[in-house]
């Protein structure tokens, strides 16, 4: 698939924004500025961006506890996301949701989700809506590897197939679910599991933006054309702990450093862009600088922003009551 220069730069900007966002969150979380739990997406950027680049606002995604990257890739407002993590009234969800519940339905982002396996049934529902409302939309259910063992995920896979729903199950396989190795906890394999429902699987190199983009494009096209659910098994890695504060001692010695050094999706994408796609370092540096400024400003603004007011506690429970 040939990619226009603009598309490539958009992809780069999105991936670099996620990386910068997550690194900043890591930093300010350690300083105690962000309350609650935070699960960072750094390392996995090529996946979210490579997929979401194919989606429009009428398409939906469901996300996971590790949702910042999906939200940014799907076009959520970055300063508002940062304010949300800070628990501020200017946050994307008025400070009521936080990291694990970032959502923006207008952008087709149905929410990060604190429940493993929470998303896939919702994705089926959005696909039913798309069919009923004739939007021609597809739905991507982002999932961690560990979530394949949740009954909800498997039920949704069966349901998606039985109804031939335009749902793409995007399994972001970073080898671990919390501290447990996926090799151990998943009997069979992702491909076999999907085959159990007659859902075709594409194995994807999640360190390579182009591979993700290509595979996702094909899967999304098929789903959109009525060929039913698809599964992407995306191999990748997360750079930080399961959540902020995790010492990650379950990892092999030097494992992460090696991945970072040899496979990092940002390094690789940058190299590809400059070497093969005729994009100048300077262009990327300019984007980097803009992103750095955006993130810095987001943090500044979030720090200054007003907190929710006591009365806000009681609103938004119901539309009417």
């Amino acid at each position: 698939m040939h990619l226009a220069r603009d598309t490539l730069l958009t992809a780069y900007r999105s991936m670099a924004t996620i990386r910068a966002f997550e690194e900043k969150v890591h930093e300010v979380f350690a300083r105690g500025e962000i309350p609650g739990f935070a699960h960072l997406y750094a390392g996995e950027e090529a996946s979210g961006v490579g997929i979401c680049l194919h989606l429009n606002d009428a398409d939906y995604i469901t996300s996971t506890h590790r949702g910042h990257g999906h939200a940014i890739a799907k076009g959520c407002d970055v300063p508002a996301m940062m304010a949300e993590l800070y628990g501020k009234r200017t946050g994307l969800c008025l400070g009521k949701g936080g990291s694990m519940h970032i959502a923006d339905l207008d952008k087709g982002m149905m929410g990060a989700n604190g429940i493993v396996g929470g998303g896939p049934p919702l994705a089926c529902g959005a696909a039913f809506s798309a069919r009923m409302l004739n939007t021609n939309g597809v739905v991507v259910a982002f999932l961690g590897d560990g979530s394949i063992n949740e009954g909800s995920t498997m039920e949704a896979m069966n349901m998606a197939k039985v109804f031939n729903l335009p749902v793409i199950f995007a399994i972001e396989d970073n080898e671990y679910a919390q501290a447990t190795a996926t090799n151990w906890s998943v009997a069979g394999s992702m491909t076999k599991r999907a085959a159990g429902f007659d859902i075709p699987t594409t194995l994807v190199d999640g360190f390579d933006f182009f591979d993700v983009h290509q595979a996702a494009g094909e899967a999304i096209d098929k789903a959109r054309k009525g060929e039913g659910p698809q599964l992407l098994h995306i191999k990748l890695y997360r750079y930080y702990g399961h959540f902020e504060g995790d010492a990650t001692t379950y990892r092999g010695k030097g494992e992460m450093d090696k991945v970072k050094e040899t496979k990092d999706c940002m390094v690789r994408f940058r190299a590809d862009l400059t070497a093969k796609h005729d994009i100048a370092e300077a262009d990327l540096e300019k984007i980097d600088a803009e992103i750095a400024a955006l993130i810095e400003q987001s943090v500044q603004d979030a720090r200054q922003a007003e907190s929710p007011r006591e009365a806000d506690l009681h609103t938004d429970v119901y539309v009417s009551y």
Binding site: L105, P120, P121, M132, A156, V319
Partner: protein
């Protein structure tokens, strides 16, 4: 207006709302019946025939049978509701909530709050509850106290065919997630039900009978029993108000408090397991906010803290009876 069964009233509400709004659809297990099978389609219309006839009229795209996967289809209803349609899901027995509760508790009920008000989730879950058919421990529970406990859901418990049609119509038009409880023992109950669509607002209790001596608040099937008890008491000169809250969330606190302020005596009748049920909830409300009006203790009439037994010989003692309601109310008047 004509006499219709509880079953028919529900069927009509579904039919009328499906006709009125093309974004309304239904999803559940065997709500059509016969899907994929060589014989009749619409063979069942739900396990007790409540949705019969809807699939032929609206087609399989809008009356959707599912695999036996409650988490998937209840969750699909939540996801559909958040993205522009108005699903009415059927959970065959509320006892099965344990297979899909997450999609209600943590998803549908919390979306709006977690997302800062940026979504609405207009879904309905219709479900069957209650004892009386010897359906035993896993098919006879009430469980509406659990849903009442959860902020973000509305809980509706109709007590007659008329109530069922109006409240279900409201539920489908409502913009919040609603769970709608149908008592399995009431489907053949008959009553006057208008032919045209109408709504009954949530959070407005129905005064089914007025009297100055004792307030009886009763839920669902218990409303009828409470009225029968009140009939008997009236013969003894004890005059009861019987209040049907219709919805336990929202709850019409004002109507309950106003009535107790008038009578000074309260009996709450709840078919649900006794601990942390709606009976205790209403009792606590009154003990806090109308204490000064109370002339005596607040009495609860509920089953014992046991699973629902199978044997009819036991189940009859399990379910609150007219006699227990009557005797409890009478005891508040100083009677035996």
């Amino acid at each position: 207006m004509s006499r219709k069964s509880f079953r028919q009233a529900i069927n009509e509400a579904l039919r009328d709302e499906m006709r009125r709004d093309p974004t309304v659809f239904m999803i559940g297990e065997d709500i059509v019946g016969g899907t994929g099978a060589p014989g009749d389609q619409d063979a069942w219309g739900g396990v007790l025939g409540v949705t019969k006839g809807l699939a032929p009229e609206f087609g399989a795209e809008r009356v959707i049978d599912t695999p036996i996967s409650e988490m998937a289809y209840i969750g699909a209803a939540a996801g559909a509701a958040a993205t522009g349609t108005r699903p009415v899901a059927e959970l065959m027995f509320v006892d099965f909530m344990g297979t899909c509760f997450d999609q209600v508790l943590n998803q549908a009920a919390k979306f709006r709050y977690m997302f800062g008000g940026k979504v609405k989730t207009p879904m309905v879950i219709r479900t069957m509850y209650g004892a009386g058919l010897s359906a035993a421990a896993q098919h006879s529970q009430c469980l509406y106290p659990i849903f009442t406990h959860v902020p973000g859901i509305k809980v509706v418990i109709p007590s007659s065919p008329y109530e069922a049609k109006g409240l279900l119509t409201q539920a489908i038009r409502d913009d919040d997630p609603v769970i709608f409880f149908e008592h399995k023992f009431m489907y053949d109950d008959k009553g006057e039900v208008p032919d045209e669509p109408y709504t009954i607002p949530f959070g407005e209790a129905n005064l089914t009978r007025e009297g100055d001596d004792v307030t009886i608040v009763a839920l669902g099937r218990m409303v009828k029993l409470a009225n029968e008890a009140a009939d008997q008491l009236a013969e003894d000169g004890i005059h009861c108000t019987v209040l049907d809250p219709r919805t336990t969330s929202p709850l019409d606190e004002e109507a309950i408090l106003a009535s107790v302020r008038r009578t000074g005596r309260l009996v709450v009748v709840d078919e649900a397991s006794p601990r942390c049920n709606v009976g205790t909830d209403i009792s606590a409300l009154v003990a806090e906010q109308a204490f000064d009006a109370l002339k005596g203790p607040i009495r609860l009439v509920s089953p014992p803290h046991t699973p629902v037994p199978f044997s009819p010989a036991l189940e009859v003692h399990y379910i609150p009876s007219v006699e227990r309601i009557r005797d409890t109310a009478r005891s508040l008047m100083g009677g035996a």
